[in-house]
């Protein structure tokens, strides 16, 4: 761990002021950032602790929820309104990490956590374009069972590891940001970047910009939702494939559908092609499978993760078929 200075912000304005220093990093629960410090992948000169910022969960005038970015994953998952109105979000959070980690991890930190690609972590022994731009990627021809099949590039095939973000992507969550140049709000699905030629750039955040809150739109009336995580052991493992789905069916037709995938892409992956294929069409297993295939048509499997294509298609089909069953 490289020496750094530490300060604790009492409000967002102060945090942004402190975070404007070069080489500063915002510190949430530290469940990922401290690991990265230990591995010397992150070498900030100063850490700005933002766990004292808003951790409130309040209803918005439009019937949604505003969630302070310092809210812990546990507090969010356990919140009464989240459990009753956005149960998929609760399910996604409790499917991630361990209870101890969820107790520490914040919503803001969860969104900005970095990939768990082993080659990214192997600072001394492996090449990584994300860690050392231009160095090359040892994952593409190495152990890539856990790596991405959608949205990858020749420079990087790492996944975004979050479960929570997959549910947030399907829920059309909005990310509120505050930075030296002011405040703004963007859809979560626009926050993370695909790797292209510069995989070190992972989000559209401007220098010093801080996530202050996540906003959930009002729950969609008449929908059913689910989060399904497929992994190599029953708990404490990252998703090989995960599916967040919101579905509404009337008279056998799909009237609303929101789908997002985890474990398959460098960002929480909103499956728009599947959604477009389904909307207005029949809510049948065959239609679900065909829509899932439409999303995966662009998949670029690697030597060790070809199974993810079929696994994603099957899991999407099964989740949607099960949800559709609730309408019959």
């Amino acid at each position: 761990m490289t020496p750094f200075s530490y300060s604790r912000a009492s409000d967002a304005g102060q945090a942004v002021q402190l975070g404007a220093m070069a080489q500063a990093k915002y510190l949430g629960g530290g469940t990922n950032l401290v690991d990265l410090l230990r591995e010397t992948i992150e070498r900030p000169s100063s850490l700005v602790d933002v766990t004292g910022l808003s951790s409130s969960i309040t209803s918005t005038p439009s019937g949604g929820l505003m969630i302070g970015a310092a809210t812990t994953n546990t507090a969010l998952a356990e919140h009464r309104l989240v459990r009753s109105q956005y149960p998929m979000l609760t399910r996604s959070i409790v499917a991630g990490a361990s209870a101890q980690i969820r107790n520490m991890a914040t919503v803001g930190g969860n969104i900005l956590q970095r990939t768990r690609c082993a080659y990214f972590y192997d600072t001394e022994g492996s090449r990584c374009n994300k860690r050392s731009p231009g160095q090359g990627c040892d994952a593409i021809d190495g152990f890539n069972r856990n790596h991405a099949i959608l949205g990858t590039s020749k420079s990087c095939v790492a996944t975004h590891p979050s479960d929570m973000c997959v549910a947030l992507a399907a829920l059309d969550a909005i990310v509120h940001l505050q930075g030296p140049a002011g405040s703004r709000a963007i859809p979560l699905t626009d926050l993370h970047l695909l790797p292209d030629d510069d995989p070190q750039n992972e989000a559209v955040l401007l220098p010093g910009e801080l996530i202050t809150a996540i906003e959930l739109p009002a729950p969609l009336v008449g929908t059913r939702s689910s989060y399904r995580k497929v992994r190599d052991r029953a708990s404490y493992a990252f998703a090989l494939v995960s599916v967040a789905a919101v579905l509404a069916v009337e008279n056998g037709k799909v009237t609303d559908v929101r789908l997002a995938l985890g474990g398959v892409a460098p960002k929480p992956w909103r499956a728009r092609q599947s959604e477009n294929a389904l909307l207005g069409g029949p809510a049948t297993e065959a239609a679900f499978r065909s829509a899932a295939e439409a999303e995966l048509i662009d998949a670029v499997p690697l030597s060790g993760n070809g199974f993810k294509v079929e696994l994603a298609i099957r899991t999407m089909t099964a989740v949607l078929t099960s949800l559709a069953g609730d309408f019959s």
Partner: protein, 768 residues
């Protein structure tokens, strides 16, 4: 503790066991002794200390002026260090010493395990003596600092470059370069009886299949650690060890000093599984302490354990079985290739269990070795049997399916009446009884013989079984000292080990019953190289080794006590074999009323204590008998028909392992072995990048072992039939639980799905 109270009111004295084993003497009297402490569920005596944080582990010894070590590892598999710039590290805050090959003291390589009686080294390479690199992950620099954080930071400032040389880091390449027959236990891993290939060809029914198992890394909960200090030319090492005397002797060889100048202690160990022997870190810690003149604590990071401490090597196995129409085996063929480093001596001996598993007319067993430039592989819980039973027992399941015979019945059908390849009689083999009892309890009769027949929603359900087996060993080197005080307290000292399995507790029970004492009147001291004996906590042999040593010491003790008792004792005139321990003293076996307490004997003799020390007799029992433990393993697996996820819903182990000394700790040993077997079956795999020999998942996040949710309720039962030829009638039980387990899982998955996976781990992509 009702059991402890019972011990004070024993009806019968426990006589001395014969102080020799294996020549048809009467069994140990403890075999028949059913009313004492042996067999009862006493909680581990080290448990309260551990949960209170009062048990001092190797990395917790405090010393004046202690320094902390951090290591830097190579990133190539073979070649040399071209440049090594330590200037920034040397200038970093708190740094006491940077040690590299340029300034490390002169040291000999470690004596390689199994090459000498007390050799404990995991490899036999020069340690920081030159610029040569032998594996990816070899330590190239050690930093000592005032704090661990300072040492770790300084180690990140070391900059090394390497000149790589051609290396072999791919198993297929290694095989192409040529293989050689593996050697284990002083002989080749090769056995031919009859013409097995011809018998296979002529067999009415046969199967012939390839199985593979990957590399595994050690993940004891306590990473390897040592606190080291020199006192002049004498070295003290507080180690996490399953071989304190071996480690002391081996370190004395490395540093060219007398064995007596090295003192190794290991009071508590957070799991060993074969890994807590001598690796380079203890040597480097001692070298740095010598150079700096300061005490050193060296604690491997989890990554450090993966880079420096070997694990289980990969295997490719062919198993071919030929049988007649009735299912009687005619041929057993078990051959294949394992990966091994150039600097060690353990070719994963996967044929060991096959030698004695089933009756057959012909055998062809053979392990070939392909050499790679990699970290020395080593012992890992049931080396050989853990992965060998995967191949053999899956093949038995495949044969049963082909024959249309129930897999349990096929195994019973081929039960041998003597050791099938050695011809020796069995000392104790009751596996058929274990099969019958286990099948009944598990509800095996409900299994569908037809695969993929039972479904619950998206989940396919199946049952599978397999035989587990592990040898009884007792190595030479056992010895014990017993000190009996005038207060009637006995202290046993033996250079043995407690790694959490309950050794100290079990031997308190044994000693108390032998001497006629209660549990709180006995102390069992261990984990110190200055104590008697050279007892390895390995090969599941420690229980027998300690047991025989205590018997030998008790002979000396009773002889001396009868002399001290003299003519005015009620025991006057009795010979040692005529008395036994009872109610805090000695009593005549034939007439327990004739009794004198230890306090009375010592008091009258004017002695505060009596101390005796004896060596255990040689393990002749192993020459005359085939001695093994057995387990009938049953698994119920659920496989998701959509995703291929496998979850184990039930598991039962039915064991035939001699007399069980402590029901509670034994159940934990069996369960722990089975849990490790579930990991072996479903998820454990060291990701060894064959391009450069680098281990790519050196953490518990990336290297999967079972999490709580992966482990179902595990039922363990045992028949408690004592072996008439062993101390206490007992067998060691530390390793058998992992054997057979992976095959039971794979066979249950086949029964659930109809898919036969022959390549571990059984990940979902293989079942989709």
């Amino acid at each position: 503790m009702s059991a402890a109270n019972n011990a004070g009111t024993l009806a019968a004295a426990v006589g001395l066991a014969a102080n020799s084993w294996g020549q048809g003497e009467r069994p140990d009297p403890l075999n028949r002794h059913k009313h004492g402490l042996v067999g009862t569920s006493i909680s581990r005596i080290d448990g309260p200390l551990k949960v209170q944080g009062k048990a001092t582990f190797a990395a917790e010894f405090l010393m004046e002026g202690l320094t902390y070590a951090s290591l830097v590892f190579s990133t190539i598999a073979k070649g040399r260090i071209a440049t090594l710039d330590a200037s920034a590290a040397e200038a970093a805050p708190g740094v006491v010493l940077v040690m590299t090959y340029k300034d490390a003291p002169l040291m000999k390589p470690m004596p390689l395990f199994m090459t000498a009686e007390k050799a404990a080294g995991g490899d036999n390479l020069p340690i920081m003596q030159d610029d040569q690199i032998h594996w990816n992950g070899q330590p190239i620099a050690l930093i000592l600092a005032e704090t661990q954080e300072q040492a770790d930071y300084a180690s990140s400032l070391i900059h090394a470059t390497f000149e790589a040389e051609p290396s072999v880091t791919d198993f297929e390449d290694a095989k192409r370069q040529g293989t050689k027959t593996g050697e284990f236990g002083g002989g080749p891993l090769k056995l031919d009886i009859g013409d097995a290939e011809a018998a296979l060809n002529q067999a009415a029914v046969s199967i012939d299949a390839e199985y593979s198992t990957p590399r595994h890394s050690h993940n004891a909960i306590e990473p390897h650690a040592a606190t080291v200090v020199w006192d002049g030319d004498s070295l003290v090492v507080h180690d996490a060890s399953q071989a304190v005397v071996h480690t002391a002797w081996s370190l004395s060889s490395v540093f060219g000093i007398d064995e007596g100048q090295v003192h190794v202690t290991s009071p508590y160990v957070g799991g060993g599984f074969g890994s807590k022997t001598l690796w380079q870190h203890q040597v480097l810690g001692a070298a740095a302490s010598k150079l700096s003149g300061r005490p050193v604590r060296i604690t491997l990071s989890r990554e450090g354990v993966y880079r420096m401490v070997g694990g289980r090597s990969q295997t490719e196995q062919r198993v071919a079985l030929g049988a007649d129409q009735d299912g009687h085996l005619k041929a057993i063929i078990h051959t294949g290739v394992v990966a091994m480093s150039r600097q060690n001596a353990l070719p994963e001996p996967f044929i060991l269990a096959t030698r004695g598993a089933y009756a057959a007319e012909s055998f062809k067993l053979h392990v070939e070795v392909a050499q790679l430039d990699m970290l020395a592989n080593t012992f890992m819980r049931a080396p050989g049997e853990a992965v060998g039973t995967f191949g053999l027992e899956c093949a038995m399941d495949e044969l049963a399916d082909k024959l249309g015979i129930d897999p349990v019945e096929l195994r019973i059908l081929n039960e041998p009446d003597k050791h099938p390849t050695e011809g020796k009689p069995f000392s104790s083999r009751n596996i058929v009884e274990a099969w019958r009892t286990g099948a009944q309890r598990f509800g095996w009769a409900k299994r569908s013989a037809k695969p993929a027949a039972i479904r619950d929603g998206d989940w396919l359900i199946g049952m599978g079984c397999a035989t587990g087996t592990y040898p009884y060993y007792r190595m030479p080197g056992g010895a014990a000292r017993i000190t009996l005080t005038r207060e009637g307290h006995a202290r046993v000292e033996i250079a043995a080990h407690e790694m959490g399995m309950g050794t100290a507790t079990a031997h308190v029970q044994v000693t108390a019953d032998r001497l006629g004492l209660t549990a709180d009147q006995v102390t069992f001291s261990y984990g110190d190289s200055k104590m008697p004996g050279a007892v390895l906590a390995g090969g599941s042999q420690q229980t027998a080794s300690i047991g025989a040593a205590i018997v030998a010491a008790q002979h000396a003790l009773v002889t001396q006590l009868l002399i001290l008792a003299g003519n005015s004792s009620p025991l006057a005139g009795l010979k040692p074999e005529e008395v036994g321990g009872l109610n805090g003293g000695l009593a005549e076996l034939a007439n327990p009323g004739r009794h004198e307490s230890y306090a009375s004997i010592l008091g009258r003799a004017g002695r505060d204590e009596v101390a005796v020390q004896q060596d255990a007799p040689p393990p002749l029992e192993l020459q005359n008998w085939s001695m093994h433990s057995y387990g009938a393993m049953f698994c119920e697996a659920r496989v998701n028909a959509i995703t291929g996820e496998t979850r184990i819903s039930r598991f039962l182990g039915s064991f035939d392992c001699g007399r069980i000394l402590n029901a509670k700790t034994a159940a934990s040993q069996f369960r722990g072995g089975i849990i490790m077997g579930l990991g072996l079956a479903l998820m454990e795999e060291t990701q060894f990048d064959s391009r450069n020999g680098r281990i790519m998942n050196p953490s518990l996040a990336d290297y999967h072992v079972p999490a709580h949710m992966d482990v179902p309720e595990i039922d363990v039962i045992w028949n408690d039939i004592p072996d008439p030829h062993t101390p206490m009638g007992a067998h060691g039980i530390g390793e058998i639980g992992i054997t057979g387990t992976a095959a039971a899982v794979a066979n249950a998955v086949f029964n659930a799905t109809g898919k036969r996976v022959r390549e571990l781990p059984l990940t979902l992509d293989k079942l989709m």
